[in-house]
Structure formats: structure tokens, C-alpha cells
Amino acid sequence: MTDKPERFDVIVVGAGPAGMSAAYLLAKEGLNVVVIERGDFPGSKNVMGGVLYRHPTEEIIPGFWREAPLERHVVETQTWVLTEKAAFKAAHRHEAFAQEPYNSFTVLRARFDKWMGQQVRAAGALIVPETVVEEPIMQGDKVVGVRTGRPDGDLYADVVIAADGVNSLLAQKVGLREKEIPTNEAALAVKEVIALPREVIEDRFQITGDQGVTIEMYAEATWGMVGTGFIYTNKDSLSVGCGALISQLVERGVTPNDLLEHMKSHPVVAPLLEGGETREYLAHLIPEGGLYGMPKLSTHGMLVVGDAAMLVNSMHREGSNLAMLSGKMAAQAVLRAKEWNDFSAESLAYYDQLLRDSFIYKDLYKYRNMARFFETHPEFFGFYPELLNEACREMLTVDGVSKRSKQRKIFWDALRRRMPWRMALDFYGAWRSIA
């Protein structure tokens, strides 16, 4: 590099959905933007379960779905409650989801992000791959640039956007995240991409063409820990994974790979995977801290977006959409700051305001107590799923016992195992935590 320090309008750290959204929109407005990415290409270090929502993505790149590498459009959403030997399944399919422009897609992040990187470059931003940001460059309490791992790799800019993911060392070093993420505010998820022929997937999941299905699984899928398991259909593979709170994995001494194998071998899950061949094994941390876990979002010369800002709505498995929209809001705040030539904390706090006025904040507020509630109520991942599945089995078993007697048996069995007032409190609490 030259003797003169490299100067940009904006440095984006991390080529994930949040960072690339911000970079794309800012470059389109003619700003001089650089994106620093540790991987070989955007996407090579990125992991998610696999559902991308159309509406928020179109807020960044309108019409993206006509050309981006997508897997399948989701027409059916299933929720399963598992016990050791059984599953209670709920499913919803709507013809509307099979119509263009579709509602959501399954994607393989490495492929989609590579494409998005090309759009970011075409918009005029510079993407520097294979480069790690080591630390922020500060002048007093102002962030004025970043130090990269390359020789003479100091870069300067009016604003740094920290899109460096859940581990966000940058937000930590600048002091926006004061404490480490507690073990009960982060879930560890592991996933396998399992290859299967197209026709097999379409037969097994009763879909045609590029239609897709998502399945979320609870309770026994994560050995009764707070978390979920999932199966998403791709074109010629399945994304199969599960995740649970680190605190509970540690407490029970569970290894993530064992948890995944346990789920894959469940009698209701295994037939869907039969004949499949694992192609890749991935892991990712999911920030579950929600509203209470959010770091400070902006300071002088820096904004924090996406996973780095803990923007995940685990109830609705939304994360990448919140990431992209936070990237958009960061871009809006930077554009305004640029217009006023004011990159102070007060000026950039416009980003906080945009986020607070949006559905992102409202949704995180709505579910602010949910994680804590379920963490302290393990019966929703053990006792109640068992009750539900056993009640179904009892009612469906034809054995000469009258239906009324069966109902009574189910009712008294439940009451014997948990006091009615406890159950009333459980469900009132659960309802309160998500209502």
C-alpha cells in the first residue's frame, strides 16, 4: 500500500447480510465504501439455517429473486413437537406462497452471499477479502478507522460499520458491548448439508418444481433444552441442524455433534434423511439476548448492525432479515451524517432512532422476556410435549376402552404429575412472554 493512509467514506467490517446491505446502498449513492472480509469471498465464512425472506431483501435489492442463486421458495411451514418416540406435527401450506414474488426462500448462504458480493462490487464498493480487522483505530473516543492484519493495513474513514457478526470483537473493543455475551444469551447451532436427489426430496416432502418446505422441531429434538431443530429443503440437498443455549449444553455436558446425531436418528426424522450423503458440517452462534442483550448501537464514527447488534428474533427464526434492514438503516444514518458532515455520536444516533421506530425494535420488545421464561420452564421442552403426544396416542389407540374413560385417564394422569395451578401458571406465563 502507499505511504498516504487509505481513506474511505465508509469502512464496513464483515461481508454478511448486514454489512453487504449497508455497503450496497451506500455505494449506490456514490460513497467511497470498502468492505473488509476475513474469508476468501463473501459467504465463505457465513452460516445460517437457511431461510431468506423476500420482502426485506427487496428493500436492499429489488427483484433479487429473479436472478440470485436461491434454493426453493417455501410453500409449507411445519412445526413438530417431539418426544423420544413420537411427534406431534402442525403444518401450514398456502397457495399464495407458491405464487410469485413468493414469501421466503431456502438459500445456501455461501452461494447467495457470493452473488450479493458481486452486486456490491457492481454498485461500486471495494471488497477486500482474506483480511481480518484486528482492532479499531481511535482518536480519543472517536472511531476513525480500523487496523487490519495486512502489513501497512491501517484504513481510515468517516464511519466504520461493525458488521462482524455475533462475536463482534470490534463492538467489544470500542466499548459498545460492555460485558461478554452471557452463556444463556447465545445458542450454539450445528448443521449438516445433506445431499439427496431432487426427485427424492420432492416425493418425500410432497412438493413440485422449486417449491420448498421448512420444518422446525422442539423438545426431544434438542434433548429437552431450550432450542430448536430444523430441516429445510434445498434443490438437491437438505439443511439439517439444531441448536441450544450454551448454558444448557454446558450444564448437561452435551456435545453439539452428538445432539445433531441424536436428532437425525429420531424415528420420525431419520426416514426423511434416508439415503442422504453429508456434504458439509457447519456451526454458528446465534445471539439470543434479544432486547436486553443489545449493545449500544452507535458512537462517534461507528455503527453496529446485524448479529453484532444481537438483532435476532428467535421466536420467528428471523435474523438475516433484521440484519439486512439494520444495514439499510445504518446506510440511511450515514447518508444523513454525510450530508451534514457530522459523524458525531449524536448525529449517528439517528440509526438508533430508525431502529427503535421500526418493527425490529417492536418485535424484540414483544419477545423480550421469552428466552428467560422458557429457560426457567423446562417443562415446555419435556413434560408438556410428552403429555401432548401421550394424549394423542391414548385417543388414537383402539383397545376396547371408551373414549370418555380415555379422556379421564389423560386428565387425571396430567393432574397427578403436575398441580393444576402450576399448569395454569405455566400457560399464563408462556402466553404473557410471547403475547
Partner: protein, 94 residues
């Protein structure tokens, strides 16, 4: 489907391992006193192993998720950083 061992799964992933580890135990003495040694089971790829009365770090298969960093925060006994630019895991699907 055929069950693969963790080692077999890691063969499927693309890696460009650096020569030196990006992860390091700061003080093995602390690990000796550590009751849970949660790093030995929380890691999705079994990076940390208790061998010969100390933790050995097999960083080559690291998926860079950060779970160990969060799990070891009470002791703060882990020097955790990302691999140097261009090194580490290279996902094809993501």
C-alpha cells in the same frame, strides 16, 4: 443414512489451516483446576482435548463459531481470535 464420525465430517469441509494456532490456552494451571472443562465438549469439532494433564488445542478443524470463547468467559483463560485472513474454514454451502 450412514452415520459419520466427527473426523469423517471434518474431511468434508474445506480448510486452509495456518501453521500456528489462532487459539491458545493462557494458563494450563487454571485448566487443571477447572471443574467442568466445558471447552472439551462444547466445541462442535472437539478442538480442545484433555491429554496428559493439560488441554491440547487442535485448531485445524475450528469452525470459528466462538462457542468456546463464550463458554470459558468466567475463567478468561482462552486467547481467542480469528485465523489470519484467508486461513481457516472455507464453506461451500453455508
Amino acid at each position: 443414512m450412514k452415520k459419520l464420525t466427527l473426523e469423517q465430517k471434518l474431511f468434508l469441509n474445506g480448510f486452509r489451516p495456518d501453521r500456528e494456532s489462532h487459539l491458545a490456552i493462557i494458563d494450563q494451571e487454571k485448566c487443571r483446576k477447572c471443574e467442568l472443562r466445558q471447552c472439551t465438549y462444547i466445541c462442535p469439532v472437539n478442538t480442545y482435548r484433555w491429554e496428559n494433564d493439560q488441554i491440547t488445542v487442535f485448531f485445524e478443524g475450528c469452525l470459528e463459531c466462538g462457542a468456546c470463547r463464550i463458554a470459558c468467559q468466567d475463567c478468561q483463560n482462552l486467547e481467542w481470535r480469528y485465523p489470519r485472513g484467508g486461513f481457516g474454514v472455507n464453506y461451500r454451502t453455508g
